[in-house]
């Protein structure tokens, strides 16, 4: 059994994925494998090089119509997020539920109990592709990884 297949099945067992979602992922895995079997040249053409982003950036700039607006520039090392999750995984179950409740009160309804450091690595790897651009008219907000 391939590593990807095993991880997908594990996520189903953990209740993180539904059966339908797992089916889609398994189908995608099979497609990738069949593509790989067509030849190394094709594979090299298909698989993008994974960029290693180091920072999550949040930039808020005033628009030209509102040049006196606030400017925000935040740069968070992605390693810090990883380390935070690893540190959070060591919290006792009672403390974790309190943290979850506090986050829920702030509108972040995320089940952190089930979040593992490996999942976070995967999430952060995919963050590299994330770009959010919001132009509200008075200010521009950009969230991206670099």
């Amino acid at each position: 059994m391939s590593e990807a297949r095993r991880r997908i099945l594990q996520m189903v067992a953990d209740g993180k994925l539904t059966v339908a979602e797992a089916e889609e992922l398994l189908a995608a895995t099979e497609t990738r494998r069949s593509d790989a079997e067509t030849g190394p040249e094709d594979e090299a053409a298909e698989v993008p090089t994974k960029s290693r982003s180091r920072y999550l950036r949040v930039v808020v700039e005033p628009s030209e119509e509102n040049p006196r607006g606030d400017r925000v520039n935040v740069r968070i090392p992605l390693g810090l997020i990883r380390a935070g999750v690893k540190f959070g995984a060591l919290l006792p179950a009672q403390a974790r539920s309190k943290v979850s409740d506090a986050l829920k009160e702030k509108g972040m309804d995320v089940d952190w109990h089930r979040m593992k450091p490996d999942d976070m690595d995967e999430l952060i790897d995919h963050l590299a592709e994330l770009t959010v651009d919001v132009d509200s008219g008075t200010e521009k907000v950009r969230v991206f990884c670099e």
Binding site: R71, N73, V74, R75, L80, R82, A83
Partner: protein, 93 residues
């Protein structure tokens, strides 16, 4: 090799008048922290072993390692907010 942050830069400007500019040389603190940690580690592990049992010793070691890596990954953190006359900058290098 990960290194802990060496300098924290802090700049606060309140309404264009009050200005605080600080360069905190953390690299001067780390040798002291290292000496203290080396001295305290056996005591902490012994107290944990006696008080909570061997299972918790592993958790304490893991927590210590996670804390160290979190501190090391602080390097590069920047928070900068500028308003009209106000400014806050926290930069960890």
């Amino acid at each position: 090799m990960m290194w802990p942050p060496s300098i924290i830069r802090l700049r606060i400007v309140d309404n264009g008048r009050k200005k605080i500019r600080l360069w905190l040389p953390l690299f001067l603190i780390w040798p002291l922290v290292l000496v203290l940690a080396t001295g305290l580690l056996p005591i902490v592990l012994l107290v944990t072993l006696i008080g909570w049992g061997p299972g918790k010793v592993k958790a304490v070691v893991q927590a210590g390692a996670a804390l160290c890596s979190a501190v090391c990954y602080l390097r590069g953190l920047t928070v900068e907010v500028r308003g009209e006359g106000d400014e806050v900058l926290v930069s960890v290098r």
